[in-house]
């Protein structure tokens, strides 16, 4: 393993911000840590970088314990949340900084900087002032700067956090492609699930300093480990239920569940696509409370006569008006019994 965390713990005051976290990152792997703000994901990066001393546990790089190794000797790249470009240096000097620190000769440095700027899509920008860059350009320079000393592990803290949506979606594809081409090992943190799923080979969901779930984007998306992960991924139809066979007793009545589901008192996730709207006199009677246009579909918020609100997804032409009475039926294929 390139990077291993072994029961890594960081306490601020009495509070454990990182609570016995174990995590492995293999060479050439892109791992994304996903979690709400305050879940300890930035602290995780700082602990690996050597900027935050551990209260307990170990950080190992290539199997070697990093305790006592200062940040500048770990050979790790870190791209900061708001880039932290050196304001008094131009773009080229920013990118060259790490090379200078590692004693690379000037001529070699200049060639390297030129290549890196080309790589991140800013050819010939070396003499530009940092202040004149747009947000997206700063992000590219920060990436080039972090890549320049050829770190064995590249860490990204909310790499696209401050950029606008369309730019973010474009850059995430570019990053993925770039890391694939260079074979870079990456550990990134983000609070944006779309970003994490698009970027990562493996997603790690964090909650309150602990790891709540780890798996490929598809695994996590299809089978969230618990109610917290499900809600964090944006699912609202999460309720307690009692499962017996292929039926579950829920606040919305009897719901069908897939065969082989775990039995007994469980948490039930009903994806919006599994909530089908039918005529008002069939199924569970509901009133339409709100509807939100989402581009490809419409999200409809339903108020049942009994039980918590329900979210349904339907095509635009089928969407009922606010205040309409509708019936609801459930699709077992879109219902997940959480462990």
């Amino acid at each position: 393993m390139l990077l291993s965390l072994d029961a890594a713990t960081v306490r601020f005051g009495g509070r454990a911000v990182l609570d016995a976290v174990g995590l492995d990152v293999a060479e050439h792997e892109v791992v994304c840590v996903l979690g709400p703000s305050g879940s300890g994901k930035s602290t995780l990066l700082r602990a690996v970088a050597g900027l935050q001393p551990l209260s307990g546990g170990r950080v190992l790089l290539d199997g070697r314990d990093q305790a006592g190794v200062p940040a500048h000797r770990r050979g790790i790249g870190l791209m900061f949340q708001d880039h932290q470009l050196f304001p008094q240096r131009d773009v080229g000097a920013n990118v060259a900084f790490g090379l200078r620190m590692h004693g690379v000769a000037r001529s070699e440095r200049d060639a390297e900087v030129g290549q890196l700027l080309e790589l991140v899509g800013l050819p010939g920008a070396g003499r530009r002032a940092v202040a004149s860059l747009s947000g997206g350009e700063q992000q590219r320079v920060a990436l080039a700067r972090a890549l320049a000393p050829r770190p064995r592990l590249l860490m990204l803290d909310e790499p696209l956090g401050q950029l606008d949506r369309s730019l973010r979606e474009r850059l995430v594809v570019e990053l993925r492609e770039l890391f694939g081409r260079l074979g870079t090992t990456v550990l990134a943190v983000t609070h944006d699930q779309g970003e994490a799923f698009a970027l990562a080979d493996r997603v790690v969901v964090m909650r309150d300093g602990r790891i709540a779930q780890s798996g490929t984007p598809l695994e996590v998306w299809q089978r969230p480990a618990d109610a917290f992960v499900a809600r964090f991924l944006g699912f609202d139809n999460v309720v307690p239920a009692t499962v017996a066979g292929t039926a579950a007793d829920s606040p919305w009545g009897k719901l069908p569940v897939p065969e082989g589901s775990a039995q007994g008192a469980r948490t039930l996730l009903v994806r919006p696509a599994g909530v089908r709207l039918v005529a008002a006199d069939a199924g569970l009677p509901c009133t339409v409370a709100a509807r939100t246009f989402k581009g490809t579909h419409v999200t409809v918020r339903l108020r049942p006569g009994d039980g918590p609100r329900l979210e349904a997804a339907c095509a635009l032409r089928d969407a009922p008006e606010v205040g309409d009475g509708v019936g609801v039926e459930f699709d077992a294929a879109e219902i997940v019994v959480l462990d």
Partner: protein, 533 residues
């Protein structure tokens, strides 16, 4: 950290301890009753009373006259604003003796007002109060105006949209935000005027005497060192109390204000009210800040063919052992040495204080550093006089004594100038450099130094100006055959005769020009206007 601590221990704490011992210890026993004895003497009580009320009056008068100017500089845009800002700041860095002579030339015997209308103020308290306003005008304009210019006007607009009248919006939104800055400025002015020495020494005559002047009188005229020591302790306690309150208000000022670029908040004056305000402020500045200095220069040129200036080059006046002009050279040498000392000591202290992981102890040192500034130069000079005159440290004969005292007074300015800049360096910028492979030393050289270079120059300039004009401490310890400029001016003024008076004016003019030049260089270097000085 160790070097600044040692410096302050030897050259500040020890002299202060010596003062305590001298004042309260007789025949080897402590006598705390001495404090009560001294303080209850009628003439001392009079001094205490005068010191306090003149400081209060000076502060009130300064606020009254300078707050409109603070608004003007913060919110209005008009041609010549930069120049006016520099003009307002000049008096603050001028030596007290220059201000003293300038006001003497304006309102004193044979002064401009005397010639025109037969009005003399040099025997009244008004001369002192006006001179104090002259000095501290810039303190209020810069501290309050600096913050005011960065307050987001949209906050007031938000209050207006919620139904507040303009006046009410100002009272409820701007005033509370400004309050701590006004309080901090007022305390600063109170502190400076409470410990006023040079101005009162020159303008107060025999009638008016502050604690500082009394300490000096007890030492150099009455030779009652133990009374002087007790008075120093009283002053020490008062200043300590003021500084604690000041530190508290400063901390409150730093809390959670949304600040914006000052450039975005200014606009051209509009309406009769704003034009009247602009005119009023300009007239105040002209009469109070510019006129005294103009009269000073005019006076120095009274003798035909630069007579007073030429007289400075002669050593036969009997007032000095050397030609007065020699004092210029002495002063410059001392100032260079003092600046170097102050920058090294103050810079190291600021670097230690700026560290984010600095503990309570270190931060306590921050407040301690301000003490020499407030505790007044006279205390420093007096302390040096009685503490450094016997082995192991006998520096009486050494030239370094004067620069040491001046560095002690100048170092807090260096810390104050450097600290905000060092603290403003984003810690994550240092981390970014570390992650890219920079060792801690390289981080400092590559990240911190380029950012503080300018502040370092400004700090050095301040230390230079401070030590050039330093009077209170220097007057105690400067050797008679080697006076500095301010000491020479004071000595010339204390002697009768037109020639001495004219020479004092000429020497003051020289001092003013040097200090003003230093300041103008600083103004060009300075980027932020939020610094405390």
């Amino acid at each position: 950290m160790a070097l600044p601590v040692a410096f302050f221990a030897v050259f500040f704490a020890w002299p202060v301890a010596a003062i305590v011992a001298r004042g309260l210890k007789a025949d080897g026993t402590w006598r705390f009753g001495r404090i009560a004895d001294v303080v209850t003497q009628p003439d001392i009580r009079h001094v205490l009373w005068f010191t306090t009320w003149q400081a209060l009056a000076s502060t009130a008068l300064t606020l009254l006259l300078a707050l409109p100017a603070a608004y003007l500089f913060a919110r209005l845009d008009f041609p010549g604003k930069r120049l006016l800002r520099a003009v307002v700041t000049v008096p603050f860095v001028l030596p007290t003796v220059v201000a003293g002579s300038a006001f003497l030339a304006l309102v004193g015997h044979g002064g401009l007002l005397d010639q025109l209308w037969g009005v003399r103020l040099d025997t009244t308290v008004w001369a002192i109060l006006l001179a104090h306003v002259f000095f501290n005008y810039a303190v209020v304009v810069r501290t309050v105006g600096g913050l005011w210019s960065q307050l987001d006007p949209r906050q007031e607009e938000a209050a207006r949209m919620l139904g507040a009248s303009p006046l009410r919006a100002w009272r409820k939104v701007t005033l509370p935000a400004l309050g701590p800055a006004v309080a901090a400025a007022a305390l600063m002015v109170f502190l400076f005027t409470f410990t006023s020495f040079g101005v009162v020494q020159i303008l107060g005559g025999p009638t008016f005497s502050t604690l500082e002047v009394e300490i000096y009188r007890q030492t150099s005229e009455v030779f009652d060192l133990s009374t002087a020591a007790v008075l120093t302790l009283v002053q020490f306690a008062a200043v300590g109390a003021i500084l604690v309150v000041h530190a508290w208000t400063v901390r409150r000022r730093e809390t959670a204000l949304r600040l914006v670029d000052p450039e975005a908040t200014v606009r051209r004056p509009r309406g009769a009210g704003q034009w009247a305000l602009l005119t009023g402020v300009l007239v105040t500045i002209a009469l109070l800040l510019v006129l005294p200095l103009a009269v000073l220069v005019r006076r120095s040129l009274d003798a035909p063919g630069f007579g007073y200036y030429r007289a400075l080059a002669n050593g036969d006046g009997g007032t000095f052992l050397v030609a007065p002009l020699h004092a210029v050279w002495t002063s410059l040498q001392y100032a260079v040495a003092a600046t170097a000392l102050a920058v090294v000591i103050g810079g190291l202290a600021a670097a230690a204080l700026a560290r984010r992981d600095a503990g309570r102890l270190v931060r306590g040192f921050d407040a301690l550093l301000m003490l020499p500034l407030g505790v007044s130069a006279v205390t420093v000079g007096f302390g040096f006089l009685i503490a450094l005159d016997k082995p192991p440290l006998d520096l009486r004969q050494s030239w370094i004594l004067v620069p040491l005292a001046q560095a002690l007074v100048g170092a807090p300015f260096v810390v104050r100038t450097m600290l905000p800049v060092l603290r403003a360096v984003d810690a994550r910028l240092r981390e970014a450099a570390a992650v890219l492979g920079a060792s801690p030393w390289r981080v400092w050289r590559e990240v911190d130094l380029p950012m503080v270079r300018r502040a370092l120059l400004v700090a050095a300039g301040f230390a230079f100006a401070v030590s050039l004009g330093e009077f209170g401490a220097t007057v105690f310890i400067a050797r008679p055959d080697n006076p500095t400029l301010p000491v020479a001016v004071a000595r010339l003024l204390s002697r009768p005769g037109d020639l001495n008076y004219g020479q004092a004016m000429a020497l003051s003019t020289i001092l003013m020009v040097v200090c003003a030049a230093a300041l103008l260089v600083l103004e060009r270097l300075r980027t932020d206007r939020t610094g405390e000085f």
